[in-house]
């Protein structure tokens, strides 16, 4: 995977942790009135749970934990419902959340106009199960050590361990967390765009022209790619085709939770829940006479196939779907693998660039030549 070349950007070195630095930035932006609201993860002490919060008053920032290995909801999905307000907002996004939002903007579901995006190199998040059991506190120290050493932390989400896009591609402000920050060399906050410069005018820390050196994260990248190989081979059950699918998705209970939490699934009423998939009696009787038996409710597996065709090439592998599956189907792994394969045909990377149009939405004369 070709690492992107980075041009010279003004940046500051961070003396404290990335989380505290971003919190300082948010405080500065809110108090200076440059933004009306900030979107960041928050820790709620009394029932030690986490949630994504929209904060408009700087005094409420103390519970904010901008960089935390927890994703209760994909911020990209939530942004689609608030980004079109006229208000200026700074949003702290993990790389896959930012990429998910880019895919949504391409589908008219939001706009960057009033957003200042702040992202960071990401070490992956823990599954909701652990968050709900309140084990994040104990796992944090070991997690931060792994991340700073470029190793893949244990028991994070499988798609996070296999994620090679952990460097944010087009955020206004990027904070390098993985690989640099804790290794004593101090991590950097880069202001990639004029918007970033304009917003952060007067923010503490003297500026220096720096180039982001991706090679430092080469070790992390190699570890992630190895994990991906392992993950994709594990999802290859005994052969493709219906049997393979049945093995994987046989135990699906049809709750469609995976599509509800998926940032790319923005349809109000999924086609598989609409009247189109409501069969009358002759249908059942005819299929029963032909096949001797059929599953009720029907189309449990067909739903996953349908979702794959509708959105898998835009799947950013955030892992929310696997987390909410009541029967633990590795939905994210299957969608990430299929998605990457399809996108590769069009050499398309979901969320890389908002101007890059969605493969199925565009007709190009010379296309799919290797298949033809």
């Amino acid at each position: 995977m070709l690492m992107r070349r980075y041009h010279l950007m003004s940046s500051i070195t961070i003396d404290t942790s990335a989380s505290r630095k971003i919190k300082e930035l948010l405080k500065f932006l809110l108090e200076s009135g440059k933004i009306d609201a900030a979107v960041t993860m928050r820790k709620i002490p009394e029932n030690n749970s986490y949630d994504l919060a929209l904060i408009t008053n700087a005094s409420n920032l103390d519970e904010a934990v901008p960089v935390v290995p927890v994703m209760t909801v994909n911020a990209g999905q939530v942004l689609s419902s608030i980004s079109t307000s006229g208000k200026k907002m700074a949003v702290v996004l993990k790389p896959c959340e930012l990429r998910a939002f880019v895919e949504l903007v391409k589908r008219e579901q939001g706009s960057f106009e009033n957003l200042l995006t702040i992202s960071h190199t990401c070490g992956g998040v823990f599954p909701l199960e652990l968050v709900e059991k309140g084990q994040i506190e104990e796992l944090l120290p070991k997690y931060e050590k792994n991340v700073s050493k470029g190793e893949v932390p244990a028991n994070t989400r499988d798609t996070c361990r296999a994620c090679e896009h952990f460097i944010p591609m087009n955020a206004d402000i990027t904070v390098s967390v993985a690989g640099e920050c804790e290794s004593g060399k101090g991590c950097m906050m880069y202001f990639n765009t004029e918007k970033a410069e304009k917003f952060t005018e007067g923010f503490a820390g003297e500026r220096s022209e720096q180039k982001f050196d991706p090679s430092v994260l080469q070790k992390t990248l190699d570890a992630r790619l190895a994990e991906k190989e392992k993950l994709f081979s594990s999802t290859k059950k005994d052969g493709p085709g219906l049997d393979g699918l049945l093995d994987l998705f046989g135990k699906c209970v049809g709750c469609h939770g995976c599509s509800n939490v998926c940032p790319i699934c923005y349809c109000l009423l999924c086609d598989f829940e609409s009247a189109n998939f409501d069969y009358n009696l002759p249908y059942f009787e005819e299929h029963l006479s032909r096949r001797g038996a059929l599953r009720l409710p029907p189309d449990t597996i067909f739903f996953h196939l349908g979702r794959l065709t509708h959105m898998s090439f835009s799947c950013v592998g955030c892992g929310m779907c696997s987390d909410v599956c009541p029967v633990g189907i590795p939905v994210a792994a299957v969608f990430k693998k299929t998605g990457e394969k399809t996108a590769a045909i069009f050499d398309y990377v979901p969320g890389r660039d908002v101007e890059e149009s969605i493969p199925v939405m565009v007709y190009k004369e010379e296309e799919l030549s290797d298949i033809g």
Binding site: A53, N57, L281
Partner: protein
């Protein structure tokens, strides 16, 4: 509801109660009293079950009528089959009492047409919690057979099963009773006119006295009622005020799995997903400005209380909502506690097949006696300021 003078039939003993049920179904299909049956079957990966409509008798060998866990609520399967009408296939469905009760409620909402269905239930000792079963199917099977013997749920079962009173014959057409009986004996009890006719058609003589079986069931029910009271008292403390409610649902991420798993939630698009409930971006942020910040996604408590308002009168506390929750919120306990109160207020029992229409869909002059007193007291206090 058991009524004393009802008689049942004794079925030939087989290895397990489940096998007795399968023998009965084979006999019914060979005699063409039924064209097809709906039964759970193991999925290829072996760690869960799915409802299968089958008319090929040979497939019955792999079916598992008395199934350890409840991946999909049976009423949802019946709804998908009969929403657009009863069709002309005679089908026997063998399900847990709470599944058949949910189907009865759905029939009052035009979602299930049971004219050509024979709804069969069996004594349910409880069901293994779905995630626990999927993680360890073999262990799950073992725990379930233990429950079958004891007639009561163990700690692997769903929380609602521990205080379920309607675990035996309720109002289905036919019922397989075996809890509390000697080893492997299974009684077949008709629950409705249709059920009696069906059994007589099959040539079964319904003469077996059921009193000993019924006494056993009553004993189990008695201590279930006690557990129910304690559990509701606990939930009451948890839900004492809005903060209590907020803390119970604090981890909710708004994935609405509980609504999709619930058999009573038949709406195609939930009101809380539709664009009407969707906040206008500016209004959202203005609301946030008033409080200095809001949690995203917004309206989680509104969703749960709204769903309660819409379906709690038909809630049969089958526990599917807790099973489907990724962050293990005890949704079923909360909804069962509320449903208990709403259904008592209307003196309505969810799932009865006596054609008693849904409380909110009929107007009775004398209704809500409790409320009248409340209103009268309130009036008394307010000085009439004419």
């Amino acid at each position: 509801m058991t009524d004393t003078e009802r008689k049942g039939a004794v079925l030939p003993v087989a290895k397990e109660p489940g096998d007795t049920v399968l023998d009965f179904l084979r006999m019914a299909m060979t005699k063409e009293a039924a064209d097809a049956v709906i039964l759970p079957m193991k999925v290829p990966s072996g760690d869960s079950y799915a409802w299968i409509l089958m008319n090929d008798i040979s497939l019955l060998d792999d079916a598992v009528p008395i199934v350890p866990t409840m991946p999909v609520q049976g009423a949802k399967a019946l709804r998908s089959l009969t929403r657009k009408g009863p069709g002309n296939l005679k089908v026997i469905a063998v399900m847990r009492p709470c599944e058949i009760r949910a189907a009865m409620e759905l029939s009052k909402l035009g979602q299930v047409h049971s004219e050509n269905l024979i709804l069969a239930t069996y004594d349910c000792p409880g069901a293994v919690q779905l995630q626990k079963y999927v993680d360890d199917p073999a262990g799950g099977d073992e725990r379930f057979s233990g429950m079958l013997k004891k007639g009561n749920p163990d700690d692997s079962a769903k929380s609602v099963c521990h205080y379920c009173e309607n675990f035996s014959i309720f109002d289905s057409d036919i019922h397989f009773g075996y809890l509390g009986l000697s080893e492997k004996e299974v009684l077949l009890v008709p629950g409705s006119g249709k059920g009696t006719e069906f059994l007589e058609e099959l040539g079964l003589d319904l003469k077996k006295d059921l009193s000993s079986w019924e006494k056993g069931i009553e004993e189990i029910r008695a201590d279930r009622v006690k557990t129910r009271k304690n559990s509701f008292e606990e939930t009451e403390i948890q839900l004492r005020d809005i903060d209590g409610l907020l803390s119970v649902f604090a981890n909710c991420i708004g994935c609405h799995n509980c609504q999709s798993a619930c058999p009573i939630c038949y709406c195609r698009l939930c009101y809380f997903d539709s664009e009407t409930a969707e906040q206008d971006p500016d209004a959202l942020i203005t609301a946030a400005e008033k409080r200095g910040g809001i949690s995203l996604p917004v309206d989680r408590i509104m969703f749960h209380t709204g769903r309660m308002a819409h379906m709690s009168l038909s809630c049969v506390s089958c526990g599917q909502c807790s099973d489907a929750c990724p962050v293990s919120i005890p949704v079923a306990d909360v909804f069962s506690y509320v449903a208990d109160q709403t259904q008592n207020t209307f003196e309505y029992i969810a799932g009865l097949n006596d054609g008693d229409p849904l409380p909110l869909r009929q107007f009775r002059k004398a209704e809500l006696p409790g409320v009248h007193e409340l209103v009268k007291d309130a009036d008394a206090e307010v000085p009439s300021h004419e």
